[in-house]
């Protein structure tokens, strides 16, 4: 049980008081005072898998770029190819350093042909802002709208019904990684069919001043669906069961997208972008280590930083691990030397000096239920 003794005051989302009143346990996360759990991580996790959960993820950052060269700026900064996006489409991508390390992972929203929104990790907002504004050229005007933007995620098999009842338009036709502008419970914003849980659901971008009205309306309207507020603890176990990378744990400035299994968002054919040369050099010479998913033979929990061994020799390191409430076993992600990355490979995790058996497995650990096109 650790306390945060740092001198910098923690940042607060517009919903911080709502969480405290709801009995949330608040913890420091990436410089923010955030709810880690309300009723309990396992209960909240299962609520999202079986019904619907409501997350305050207003700590996430939103950077907008507008102008005739906005697309060119996005193309230069991001590994993925945004040129084929149409209005209302979302794309996952990475920002990379010239050396190939990852500045951040993000989603890119095409608001208009000359207007994009980049949604970035909370702990990276300042770093990303400095990065995008210093590496952008031409007629592209950047604005950081993070503080005035609240973000609520409604996730789970009952999310579509709930959001649909409160929205001013049909939401059943919104495909995965697409969005519309509309109102939910009278609050205008962006209704995006995205998430970080592996369940169907929406992320709702609304003005910070309307966050509480939307939160309250969703909790009340969702009561019959069994809605619960969900903290960052369950957000972490939900994404881990999907093997979604978490910046700062599984990916950072020392990891290349190819090692992290993010080769699918790297599009060298689109032309030059930051990091392209280094990533392509690694593609040619071979990827030295790979981010794998593994499961434990018993319940001991693998944690970030623990060593991974094969036949008694160190071959890698755990980047994320937890008991997986849906898979009902201890699971983890970690980098291992490429020869040990195949599904079925026997590994051990060094936990408190002892070797605990693990095995590389197919991922996701739990089947994805996101909306299929």
């Amino acid at each position: 049980m650790t306390d945060d003794h740092s001198a910098t005051p923690l940042k607060r989302t517009p919903l911080r008081e709502v969480h405290v009143k709801a009995g949330a346990k608040m913890v420091p996360f990436g410089g923010w005072d955030m709810p880690v759990q309300y009723t309990g991580i396992i209960d909240e996790h299962r609520t999202v898998r079986s019904a619907v959960g409501l997350f305050d993820i207003s700590h996430m950052g939103e950077l907008e770029v507008r102008g005739p060269d906005a697309l060119a700026a996005v193309q230069r900064l991001c590994t993925n190819d945004a040129s084929g996006l149409h209005d209302g489409q979302v794309q996952y991508a990475a920002l990379c350093y010239p050396e190939g390390g990852i500045v951040d992972d993000l989603t890119v929203y095409r608001l208009a042909a000359d207007h994009y929104m980049l949604v970035v990790n909370a702990s990276n907002i300042d770093k990303d802002w400095a990065w995008v504004t210093s590496h952008s050229e031409g007629r592209a005007e950047w604005s950081n709208v993070s503080e005035q933007t609240a973000l609520l995620a409604v996730q789970g098999p009952r999310a579509e019904g709930l959001v649909g009842r409160l929205a001013d338009r049909d939401v059943t036709g919104i495909d995965y990684y697409h969005f519309v502008r509309g109102t939910v419970a009278g609050v205008a914003g962006i209704i995006s069919r995205t998430g970080y849980t592996g369940e169907d659901g929406f992320e709702l971008y609304v003005p910070a001043a309307r966050a509480e009205a939307l939160w309250t309306a969703l909790i009340e309207a969702g009561r019959a669906d069994g809605i619960k507020p969900i903290g960052l603890g369950a957000r972490d176990t939900l994404r881990l069961e999907m093997k979604y990378a978490l910046y700062g744990n599984d990916i950072d400035e020392t990891s290349n997208p190819l090692e992290a299994g993010l080769g699918w968002v790297v599009k060298p054919a689109k032309g030059d972008f930051l990091g392209r040369g280094a990533i392509e050099a690694m593609r040619r010479t071979g990827v030295p280590r790979k981010l794998v998913g593994f499961e434990m033979a018993e319940r001991a929990v693998p944690r970030h930083g623990y060593r991974l061994l094969a036949d008694g020799h160190p071959v890698g390191v755990v980047t994320s691990g937890s008991f997986g409430p849906s898979v009902e076993r201890s699971i983890g992600m970690g980098y291992v030397a490429a020869p040990h990355a195949a599904v079925g490979t026997a590994l051990t995790v060094e936990i408190r000096g002892a070797q605990h058996a693990a095995r590389v497995v197919k991922t996701p650990f739990h089947p994805s239920h996101t909306k299929k096109a």
Partner: protein
């Protein structure tokens, strides 16, 4: 306010001990399990192991945290809760009952007398953690 049974003795590290003759039954308090959150793994010594007062005897893991377990008294482990590997969640649901962890045959019963009373432990935890 977490439940603090009056008949038990407590450590500053949030273990409880129930003295039964020359033996002490040991677990973690309601306050401790609340702070930890969902318990998913408990690592305990084997029967026959020696434990020393205020030294670690095992580990409890919740989804978010790893926490050492400290022996309230010294002695030999004579029983281990065999249910915990299968159902670690009883540490949350029944910390003073089904969630017990060890029974220690005490080598020095005076150690038990020196542990915190329920009233003192309640003072320790009042205002902490929230």
């Amino acid at each position: 306010m977490a439940n603090v049974p009056a008949e038990l003795k407590y450590t500053r590290e949030h273990e409880w001990a129930k003295v039964e003759g020359d033996r002490a039954r040991v677990g973690i308090t309601a306050f401790a399990q609340e702070q930890l959150g969902d318990v998913v793994f408990v690592e305990l010594p084997k029967v026959g192991a020696k434990v020393t007062a205020l030294k670690t005897f095992g580990v409890v893991e919740s989804v978010k945290a790893v926490s050492d377990l400290f022996a309230p008294v010294s002695g030999e482990v004579v029983e281990v809760n065999a249910e915990l590997p299968r159902r670690p969640e009883v540490v949350n649901s029944d910390p003073y009952g089904a969630g017990w962890m060890l029974v220690i045959r005490m080598s020095d019963p005076k150690e038990a007398a020196a542990l915190m009373s329920a009233a003192d432990y309640e003072k320790l935890t009042a205002g902490a953690g929230h």
